[in-house]
């Protein structure tokens, strides 16, 4: 049976723990002089990025290469997608190469689930519109875990453009699965209705509410999804009301951002350059987590090991 990673909602706590343990093993590989293992020799990973991406696309590519898979990258622009080829036809075309994994980023919600109908390859959702971005959630969890932060009881505040954020949607679900508490802080126009019921976090319009959070997760203003706008009066006003800088943080608070950062909008220049901010650590975790995901999807069904206790896995 083909296994996919479409949304983090499909993962229970044990499965997330298993991914985090697996990621630790690849962190060890990346500390070696020779940072490559032969595990996925002869396997084919196709990265299909119909939306722009630097971090996710490069990290999936490098993750595949570090595992010795053959990696093909297809971009939206410059491919037949420019000529009007549908997602279905593109998937069917690439499926002829018999890929083991298709990594898909697409602007439409549900694109990955749709693509899964046309291929036997495992599908990894690398972001579908405003819906989900499961590997981002896993890398966020891993980044904190690696710093020794306990996820149970952790308080995470997402600040900014929650409305358009698959990072917040997937992240909140993953954090809650792991026993963390989530708050969303944004102007009313950028908080989707039904948020508290849907995502189970508290919603607030007051930036001062970040004071309670252990982790301040700054979200990118997604201009490209805002169409004609009207979501904020001006970026300058948004920045004044909701921009995160050192003056709004208390000592010891951790700051995360999925990148790319709009400096001077949702995050101040000075904070963006602060080495304490976890952005670079998140990028590093991204490749490790994606190695774990590619390995896990190809290495096969894990049903019989699903309930192996963590201490036993680490033994």
């Amino acid at each position: 049976m083909t296994r996919n990673l479409i949304t983090v909602d499909d993962l229970d706590r044990d499965e997330i723990e298993r991914y985090l343990s697996l990621t630790d093993r690849f962190a060890e590989v990346m500390q070696r002089d020779l940072k490559k293992v032969p595990t996925l020799r002869g396997r084919v990973v196709v990265n299909m990025f119909f939306e722009s991406s630097t971090r996710t696309a490069t990290s999936f590519e490098l993750a595949g290469k570090r595992l010795s898979a053959d990696v093909i990258n297809v971009k939206g622009s410059g491919s037949s997608v420019d000529k009007g080829e549908t997602l279905k036809d593109t998937v069917l075309t690439l499926n002829a190469y018999r890929p083991d994994v298709l990594v898909i980023r697409h602007k439409s919600v549900g694109a990955c689930a749709a693509a899964a109908r046309y291929t036997d390859a495992a599908i990894v959702n690398a972001g579908d519109g405003t819906h989900a971005h499961p590997t981002q959630s896993l890398l966020d969890l891993y980044t904190l875990r690696r710093r020794g932060v306990s996820l149970e009881g952790l308080h995470v505040a997402y600040v900014g453009d929650v409305m358009h954020s698959r990072v917040a949607r997937s992240g909140a679900a993953a954090f809650r699965t792991m026993g963390a508490k989530v708050t969303f802080i944004a102007p009313p126009t950028l908080l989707p209705p039904g948020l508290e019921e849907g995502l189970g976090g508290r919603a607030s319009h007051d930036i001062r509410d970040i004071a309670d959070a252990d982790v301040v997760y700054v979200l990118r203003m997604q201009h490209e999804r805002m169409g004609d706008g009207g979501f904020v009066p001006s970026l300058r006003e948004y920045s004044r009301e909701y921009g995160v800088g050192h003056e709004r943080l208390r000592p010891g608070q951790l700051v995360m951002h999925p990148g790319p950062m709009n400096r001077g909008v949702e995050i101040t220049d000075a904070l963006a350059d602060d080495p304490e901010v976890l952005v670079t650590a998140q990028v590093e975790s991204g490749m490790l987590v994606r190695m774990a995901v590619l390995y896990d999807l190809i290495a096969g069904p894990a049903e019989h090991v699903r309930n192996v206790p963590v201490e036993e896995v680490a033994a």
Binding site: R18, S21, L22, R25, E28, V29, R32, D33, L34, K36, V37, P38, T39, L40, L67, Y295, D296, I298, A299, G300, P301, A302, H304, V305, V308, V313, A314, A315
Partner: protein, 184 residues
């Protein structure tokens, strides 16, 4: 703790066999302190630790130790078991002889993978193999240098090495083909 099957070695026999292997390693190496032991996950790891302890007793110095998980080097990726153990080789493998340690030698595929994994860390001047049980049926040209016990078996039989650190007791059990649990 015994699986259904015949107990071939009890805890005392396991202990004495490991001690004898340690003696043999000390005898056969001009400078036993220069050898390094690398345990293959999973029961090779506690086995290597016990050998190291005995070698320390006989030779005066404990050899350096490492652990190797070979899951990323298997020739059958895609058949499940994606649980990975720890790999930790905290010394330069290019400098001194390495003795790979595992509980059971069977087809030789695990050892093949372990040699590949080891060479990703450097180029050892010599690699040897120490196993508690050699049950035969090799599928690759691999032979052990230090053997605790040669055990003629049929392919349908399974050999389970239980070690206190992992299983709560020391024993070696020969059983008829059953669920693939522990070490086959």
């Amino acid at each position: 703790m015994s699986a259904a099957g015949r107990v071939l070695m009890d805890d005392d026999q396991v202990r004495r066999t490991i001690a004898r292997m340690a003696h043999e390693i000390v005898e056969r190496h001009a400078d036993p302190r220069a050898v390094t032991l690398v345990g293959i996950h999973r029961r090779g790891v506690p086995l290597a630790a016990r050998l190291a302890r005995d070698i320390a007793e006989f030779a005066g110095t404990a050899p350096d130790m490492g652990t190797l998980d070979i899951a990323l080097y298997r020739d059958d990726v895609g058949t499940g078991v994606p649980v990975l153990g720890e790999t930790d080789v905290p010394f330069d493998v290019s400098a001194r002889p390495v003795i790979l340690v595992d509980d059971v030698l069977y087809t030789g595929r695990t050892v093949r993978a372990a040699i590949d994994a080891l060479f990703d860390f450097g180029r050892p001047p010599q690699v040897q193999l120490a196993v508690l049980i050699d049950r035969g049926h090799r599928e690759l040209p691999i032979r052990p240098d230090h053997v605790g016990k040669n055990l003629p078996t049929a392919r349908h039989e399974r050999v389970y090495v239980h070690l206190t650190e992992v299983d709560g007791a020391d024993e070696v059990v020969l059983a008829e083909s059953g669920p693939a649990k522990g070490t086959a």
